[in-house]
Symmetry: C2
Amino acid sequence: MTGPVAPISVAPAVRPRIPAARFGARLAQAQAGVAERGLRAMLVSVGPDLVYLAGYEAMPLERLTMLVVPASGRATLLVPRLEVAPARACPGVAGGHLDLETWEETEDPVDRVAHLVGGFGSAFAGRATPDRAAVSDRLWAFHLLRLQAVLPGAVFVSASLVLRDLRIVKDADEIALLRLAAEAADRVMWEIAHGRLVGRSEADVAREVRDRLLAEGHDRADFAIVGSGPNSASPHHEASDRIIEAGEPIVLDIGGPFGGYGSDTTRTIWVTGGDATRGPDDEFLRLYSVLRAAQAEATHAVHPGVACERIDLVARELISAAGHGAHFFHRTGHGIGLEGHEDPYLVAGNAEELRPGMAFSVEPGIYLAGRYGARIEDIVICGDDGPIVLNQLDRDLLVVTG
Amino acid sequence: MTGPVAPISVAPAVRPRIPAARFGARLAQAQAGVAERGLRAMLVSVGPDLVYLAGYEAMPLERLTMLVVPASGRATLLVPRLEVAPARACPGVAGGHLDLETWEETEDPVDRVAHLVGGFGSAFAGRATPDRAAVSDRLWAFHLLRLQAVLPGAVFVSASLVLRDLRIVKDADEIALLRLAAEAADRVMWEIAHGRLVGRSEADVAREVRDRLLAEGHDRADFAIVGSGPNSASPHHEASDRIIEAGEPIVLDIGGPFGGYGSDTTRTIWVTGGDATRGPDDEFLRLYSVLRAAQAEATHAVHPGVACERIDLVARELISAAGHGAHFFHRTGHGIGLEGHEDPYLVAGNAEELRPGMAFSVEPGIYLAGRYGARIEDIVICGDDGPIVLNQLDRDLLVVTG
């Protein structure tokens, strides 16, 4: 980040895609999980689980789209008739891995789902052992309440019982996309950090971040936190109309999906406005130095078999030892993939052990309310022998004219 | 749309906002609804209901944000601690209309919600008459399943029981925003329809649509359907890599939120590439003429007291009489406001009567699979004496060089 030359754009002309055959394998694994757990079916609505299993992306709307994966037999994607063309083109359907059905505007799609599950109405009710059906985590309550009404004898559980163990470990194609996403975000961060900042509003800088993320090939620019001065002490600050001044830090936390897989990186910089007397004060330098060490040690601790909460503890102990324990009030990291936040979470109480292929952020922060704060965030893969860090920008405090 | 001059930009320098006091009134109405319906509480997570009641926008994430509106007493907004700053600034909290509480990273927020509801665990269970709690339609199943586990005696119902009657009628401030959204979308449509099209990919045109929607002040550009040639026959076609050719129609369906309130408009144009022999064929002209009449008559039928399904029927009868009944396979319209699709729906079977202040699309379409299709869409307000049409572009078939 301190080098004089911007990172070289290495975005390939043709973006890698998840091979179409992969969706067949994922569906087979998911169906095996449904059977193993004694579920009657898994019901997956629009969202990351549907992208994972069928490669099908659609807007979450009031019209129900639902993939029904029974314990045995063919899976079926049920979509509104007016979306049949894009549904037919998705790899899950085009590859012959699942059947496609449509419902008409005057039909009740929930009845159709119940029929596909094979347990319409009373067929589910009144059994000694109720049937269980899994639903995707992002299914709207609007739809789940209707399903529960139509299948009164069923017990509904989270589809993550089956899918989290599949999605939590990324394969080589997924890691390739996460790496491209990180590199694209790095280039945006470099440009922003070395551009003009003093005198501009946070919102104006955030707009530039979003434009650059899209220009770098991101599907969307989901977030662009620009927290200047006292706003740097609010971890989820939205960019505001505040004008950036010389002599203060800025927390930049940017990202979004790239080929479906998320970027998410944070750097904290200090802008002087060219006035040598407006550099970082000693307290900020001490705070940043502690944070820098905590982020490095937490990253260094990543290794197969290490508990998620251990990574959090490594960062937290260093920060607490410096007297800032109360100023670090969020978890150290979150998984990332088809969702910006997903399993595994690096948080106290999560004893799950890291496995090769897990992808997550390492992002401790220190926040002094009303004054200023700092955060450093990289996306890290748990490799066979330790951490593989996808973000490449320098992590030392960058002091710029701005 | 056929005029030589682009619509004049009338976007005001200062965008109107919903007055802060309005949120207090909305909360009071919602609470009265909770009490009237014998609910113990209404639980509202991130999404349009939360924007409506508290003016609070946040990303829907795995960290629970929830507004708890009890049948009596103060309402409470529960947010993750790291989002306390933006939550404190929202009109509902800043205006003193509701209390703010935060939860820590190592806490279970669902337990906190149960406590706020006043019915933790067994307090709900085993009663002769179960307690009922309403949840917002967009609450994730992930959260609802947890709430159901923690409150096993409770019956969960949709918060729309209370909120749909409030949200379905727009007040003057909301209509002002819908009008600005429509006017901004009209300007984008005009520019796209009069720009270069032949030889460009649909995706490239869609990018221009999105850029222009944002430049015109939209919060987001949620959709930009560009369906050219045979793709015009797929109502929810996504813009593809197909290159637009001379001598074919293009369906343009664009929109997104503007100050929180949605735009959504469709025009169908025909591009000749400057070749007089490549104008629309007779069948397309007949099809479009029927569609034009159906959209006009359906709009004309809008009046207080008319059933929603009647508007649908007016359009459908005209299209069916022309032999295209099977080619119009979606409803005639959907409500619009804080959501792109919301109540009321103009669809067969919906006997709800239109009331002044209701806002919805009127958008019949005719689609000949594999060949071409057309759709015309305006946003219409039900006024005291008839329709108030917010979109102003001409609806005759626009034949352009492209």
